[in-house]
Every structure is written in structure tokens, then in C-alpha cells.
């Protein structure tokens, strides 16, 4: 079965995110007050042919560990779309 995967990459908490900070500082000038914690990251979307959602997630995790994210500076959050109900979390 084909599972849609969304991987979100963000900088590790505590590391400088100058781009997020610059955007956060720009927002008040447009009238968006009270916005905090703006972070800029990357999103990957793809599909994986796997026997189960758990297996699709495992594949995506391995992709993150080996290529998509650099664990020294980034963390990855994986969402499997079209999860069969029994394996949804």
C-alpha cells in the first residue's frame, strides 16, 4: 500500500533561528501583535510503498536519520497520512 508521508524538519530547541526571529520581528509592523515562537523549517512530502503504516514510518525515520535531517542541528517530525485506524497514534 502507498502511504503518504509528511516530514517536518525544524532546528533543535535552543539553537539560533535567525530567520524565524527576523520574521517574528517583522510581524508586529504588519499589525500582528502577540506572535511568539516563530520557527522556519523544511517540509518533505512523498509516498512510500510499504506493507503497513508502521513500516512506512520506519522507512521515513531511517531516511531522516541518514539524509533528510542532520541530528546535530535538526529534528524531524514524521506524519503518515492514510493511516489504517489500528495503527494511528
Amino acid at each position: 500500500m502507498n502511504y503518504g508521508i509528511v516530514v517536518e524538519i525544524r532546528g533543535l530547541t535552543g539553537l539560533a533561528d535567525p530567520e524565524g526571529l527576523a520574521i517574528e520581528r517583522a510581524l508586529p509592523s504588519l499589525g500582528f501583535a502577540g506572535v511568539e515562537g516563530v520557527h522556519v523549517g523544511k517540509v518533505f512530502r512523498f509516498s512510500v510503498d510499504a506493507p503497513s503504516a508502521a513500516e512506512a514510518r520506519r522507512t521515513a525515520q531511517e531516511m531522516c536519520d541518514r539524509l533528510l535531517a542532520n541530528p546535530v542541528i535538526e529534528r524531524a517530525e514524521i506524519r503518515v497520512l492514510d493511516d489504517p485506524p489500528e495503527s494511528s497514534t
Partner: protein, 237 residues
Amino acid sequence: MTADVGIVCFPGSNCEHDVAQALQGLGASTRFLWHGADQVGEIGAVVIPGGFAHGDYLRPGAIARFSPIMRAVANFAVDGGPVLGICNGFQVLTEAGLLPGALTRNIGLRFICQTVECTVESVASVLTSAATPGSVLRLPINHYEGNYTCDPATLAEIEARGQIVLRYRENPNGAMNAIAGVRNPTGNVVGLMPHPERASDPLGVGTDGVVLLQSLLVAALARRGVSRRPAPGDAAS
């Protein structure tokens, strides 16, 4: 005797000729190593030059580390061979896990192209063996992602072990502890953001980079004649 240095070329490398010219000016012979090659051959040192390997797609160095030549470079490094990564080459070496940490975007989100002063922190490396500890070198930097970053435990460890090779006197990019260059524990793998090859001609920004390149050539000559152990996965695989 001539030091023989291999210079790795990825699609998108753009400082390989600068490095070759600077090293040849110091009496070395150089050869280019295409990224698709699976061995480095009989050389005394490897330089991974600056540029934008594989377009810096995903992250600088993230794709380059999977080029076939990198397995050979890693084996050469594990075997004690001198390996130097300059700018993008430094980024490649961190992504490949041959050096600790990572290089992220400059704190001011600006591409910085200027000459900066760096202090020689450690001379226990193939890049700094001929330099004077504590001396200040004027070297050009030319990068957008030169902000050296690692976790606090790694930072404490590399500081304690003296693995910081060069430190900016005035931090231009937000690098942790103003780190401009680091070495591996054994000192045969070094990465730095400044470009010593661009400070090797009196007609340029000075010649403070010469002592660094000379150190590398000393290491490359010393490497010559070292019988090389065949490494698993090297060459024949």
C-alpha cells in the same frame, strides 16, 4: 621530494583551482579527484575545496557526503592521512561525520565576504603544525553557512581536548565560541571556514595562509612512504 595533494571536485566545487595554484606555488604537485572516483590513489593529502557541492541542496555537504570519493577519503582519514576541508569542504567533513558539529546559517543571515583575523589555538594538527600558537592570521572568509554549531557536551569536549584549531578574534557569523576551524582528536582531519589558499599571494589579501598550507604539505610529505593498509570497502568494492 614533492608533496602530492589530491583535490576533490564535486559538481559545484569552485575553489579547486585556487587551492591547486596556491599549493603548486609552494612546490607541491596536485591532482584533481572527481567525486565519482572510488579511490584517492597514491597521494600525501586530500583537500576538499570550497564551493557549492551538489548545489548545497538539502544542506551544504549533505549530498556530497554520499559521493563515492568520500568513502575513499574516509578510509584515507581513518588510516591517518591528512585531510583538509576548506569552507564548503568543512561542511562536507562535518556532514560525513569526520569532524564534530555542523555549520549553520550566519547569525545575521548575511553572506559574509571579508578578511578576518583568526588566532591559532592549536598547533597539533596537519593545518597548523608550522604555525606559532597564539599567533594571529588574516584570512578571507566567504560564506553564508559558517556558523559553527554543536551540542554543549561536544563543545565542552572539543574545547577540553584542544580540538579548536582557529578562533575568530571578532566573531563574524555567530559561531559557538567563535570557532573558525576544528580538528579531529588525532589532528589529521581539519576543517576551517576561512580560505588559506586566498591568502597565499602577495598580490592578494596577504600571505598569512601560507603557513597553514605549508603545514599541510609537511604532513603530506610525511605521509609519503607510509605503507597503506587496505581498508575495508576501499578500491576493490
